[in-house]
């Protein structure tokens, strides 16, 4: 046996330690990204999530106008933090369709009274069906949908102040 082969186990060990150290220093992507970008929304028709507002269906997304689809819930704490940013998006010209996941009408009303109502319409997703169908893994998430009902962009987590201009830009691009 040659001399250098004696060093082989140590070299292998060092290589794996180095590999592990490198991977540990890399930022980790904790998000589960949707595989549905570029694909159309599925057929759906939801009851209104509260009295006095329209529900949501696929047809609403096919009127030629790009829209934001906001997956949220009155029981979701980050959704409270997101509320002012949704209001800013609405003020910036965005049409926002809310999808309330597993929510009661009275809870939805109370949330909107307290934190404002930026939505044009809100559908109730009682069995998380639309959420699963578009690859959303939590609340809140915001999707950009073009005028033909095709999913263009997914924003995971609450919309921060710095995300507002970017979302408006993507929304505008989706309309061209």
């Amino acid at each position: 046996m040659r001399r250098w082969t004696l060093w082989l186990p140590l070299a292998l060990f060092t290589f794996f330690v180095g590999l592990a150290a490198y991977q540990l220093t890399q930022p980790k992507d904790e998000f589960v990204h949707s595989g549905m970008l570029g694909k159309p929304l599925p057929e759906f028709d939801m009851r209104p999530a509260l009295e006095g507002m329209p529900g949501a269906s696929l047809a609403d997304f096919k009127d030629g106008q790009p829209k934001l689809l906001n997956i949220w819930a009155s029981w979701c704490l980050p959704c409270i933090a997101e509320a002012p940013q949704l209001e800013a998006l609405r003020a910036g010209g965005a049409q926002i369709v809310g999808i309330a996941v597993r929510d009661k009408p009275e809870d939805v009303s109370r949330f909107l009274e307290t934190h404002g109502n930026p939505y044009a319409r809100i559908g109730a997703d009682d069995l998380s069906e639309l959420q699963l169908a578009i690859g959303s893994s939590g609340v809140p998430e915001t999707f950009v949908i073009d005028g033909n009902g095709v999913i263009v962009h997914q924003h995971i987590g609450d919309v921060r102040e710095s995300d507002v201009p970017k979302l408006l830009e993507i929304l505008q691009e989706a309309g061209q």
Binding site: V32, L77, D107
Partner: protein, 141 residues
């Protein structure tokens, strides 16, 4: 007595925090209800045990009490009851959430070394063994 109250209070705190972010709707019809046909339920169970709960770390949807996992169980059970193939349901979810949602290993561009390396090591071990034994016999003769 005071001490016991404090301990109980501390114990209750453990349960209060996670409950804050819970919805108030009842679970989906088939979240906790088995299918009437035992064969179909077995099929559904097998699939649910190999699908990851997206909200909770390292739990299958069969193990999780998260409401989203309940909604996923409802969907798996109703689709299997409607005659859909379990692997088609898995593929449907993988299309949406990537391999992350499935616990069943797949050979892909990223995972093939995991399958190839053990075979390669076995092959190398075989060659080394064959040469050693071969050499040993050569010396004995």
């Amino acid at each position: 007595m005071m001490r016991l109250t404090l301990i109980l209070a501390a114990f209750q705190m453990l349960f209060v925090a996670p409950l804050q972010a819970q919805d108030s709707l009842p679970p989906a019809p088939y979240a906790y209800r088995q299918l009437d046909d035992p064969a179909l339920e077995a099929k559904a169970q097998e699939l649910m045990e190999t699908l990851r709960c997206l909200k909770c770390q390292s739990q299958s949807i069969a193990d999780s009490d998260a409401s989203m996992a309940g909604d996923m169980r409802h969907q798996v059970r109703t689709r299997i009851a409607a005659g859909e193939d379990p692997e088609a349901i898995r593929a449907w979810l993988v299309e949406r959430y990537g391999d992350y949602v499935s616990y069943a290993p797949r050979v892909t561009a990223a995972t093939w070394p995991l399958f190839a390396i053990p075979l390669l090591l076995l092959l190398i071990a075989g060659i080394v063994l064959w040469r050693r034994i071969g050499r040993g016999q050569g010396r004995a003769a």
